[in-house]
């Protein structure tokens, strides 16, 4: 089966001596929830930006469902960046209309249902919302698309534990079995139970790529414990 994401010899150099990614190789199959884990500065966000065509690789190739990043792959990927990327002068309902305009696979009814569940007023302006609520709106927009690959960069970092549970519940309920979720976070304990596979990344290279079951049986540890062991300072 063709992998949904394939990186070969991928490198990204920011200055003459600093490589954020260094000859990284990775292939992910369809239909899994994958945790992309690593300490600060390990290259997680750089990898995610490269997949989403926000950066140009210094070397190597990226294939998404067999295609290089471009217009066709952007239709397949639903990307939640680590920062607020919405025009804050817009109203929530205008942003929904914006997504519906640009993405054919956006399901407007689903977005309004999630807004209602989270008691977010569609007529509110984004700039009037709290940081956590803005993050929830962004996640609603991302999860309202029927995408093949969801890439979520720190989706639960800025919200309270109750909302965190709702968000994880939302992620699980709103992706189909064929889709893949690549999720980057530091809050491993919170997401461990929903992950199928884990990719550890350090100094721009993959140091571990195993299913959660393999980790438990081979290492006899939880993902969180293994992470602490591998990345001990």
């Amino acid at each position: 089966m063709k992998p949904i994401l394939e990186c070969q010899g991928l490198s990204k150099r920011y200055s003459s001596s600093f490589y954020a990614l260094n000859n990284l190789n990775l292939a992910l199959e369809k239909g899994q929830i994958v945790g992309l884990l690593g300490p600060n500065g390990s290259g997680k966000t750089t990898l995610i930006k490269l997949i989403n065509d926000c950066l140009h690789p210094t070397q190597g190739t990226i294939l998404i469902d067999g295609m290089e990043p471009g217009v066709a792959t952007k239709k397949l990927i639903s990307y939640l960046p680590e920062r607020t990327c919405l025009d804050l002068s817009m109203k929530v309902k205008d942003v929904i209309a914006y997504y519906a305009d640009f993405y054919e696979n956006f399901v407007t009814e689903r977005a309004y249902q999630m807004l209602q569940d989270l008691e977010i007023n569609p007529n509110a302006r984004l700039k009037s919302l709290s940081k956590g609520t803005k993050e929830k709106v962004q996640l609603i927009l991302i999860m309202s698309r029927d995408a093949k690959l969801y890439i979520l960069d720190e989706p639960i970092g800025g919200v309270d534990p109750a909302a965190r549970d709702y968000i994880l519940h939302t992620i699980l309920n709103n992706y189909n079995e064929e889709a893949t979720i690549l999720l980057s976070t530091h809050l491993i304990q919170d997401i461990e139970n929903i992950l199928d596979r884990v990719v550890f990344i350090r100094q721009g290279q993959v140091v571990l790529n195993q299913t959660v079951d393999e980790i438990r049986t081979q290492h006899g540890k939880s993902v969180d414990s293994l992470f602490r062991e591998v990345f001990r300072c």
Binding site: D53, C54, H56, K75, R83, T84
Partner: protein, 276 residues
Amino acid sequence: MLGKLLKYDMKSLNRFLIVLHTFLLLSALGIRIFLTGRIFADNTAEGTILGLSFLLYILVITAANFGTFIVIAVRFYKNLYSDEGYLTHTLPATKGAHLLSKTISGTIWGTLDMILMGLSIYIVVATPFVMDVYHAHRAEILTEFGFIGRYADLTFPKILLFLLIFSIICAFSSCITIYASVVLGQLFSGHRILGAVVSYFAISTIVSILSFISLAVLGLSTSKDLIYMRSAAGEPFNFVAYMAGVLGLSTLLALIVGIILYILTYVLMNQKIDLA
């Protein structure tokens, strides 16, 4: 996809620029009703008030013009290279479509700005007193300006059409100069906005030097002809011919510079620019 991008780019520019130009036209109306419409400039005091009101008005139209291009620059930078860029760059559209959409929307508003400036100048200047003087001495005024010989049949619609083409090309060139500067600024590792400002002044200086050299080569740069309204050989100085030459050359230069900078911006956006 281009149509959708253009819709949102226009919406974003309209929000500020409709307000700005409404203020421009209201200022022009105010100056016309309370100042120029009541003054006949037949004594020194009224002449002074008239002069001051024109000074104030020049400040208003300069601010409107400057504000228009600032709004266009901010939209380009914010939408493509601030945090918003993470959404814009992941829309299913090519970088070429983004550039084209912003060039079209910027050119539309740059042209509208010049048209509305012209309209506001007309509102301020074309008082009944001025129009009466103009109609009473129309033939002499037109002759003095040089609407004679091959320029005698230059009708008002023809002049307007020429000015419209000039405005569109200048607006295109101004927008793409801003966009190229922003994109060049992104090549700096830090202080990218400062980099964009430096790039803008560098491009403007190069274009000004090129423009000056071109005018000098074609003999259109001597200002004393304008001051004395006579050429050195004593032949009558034809203002219309002079302006046609200057504006024609400026249009051509703006078009060439605009096309070169558009290609440069397109190439850099596609191959070099990383989001911060």
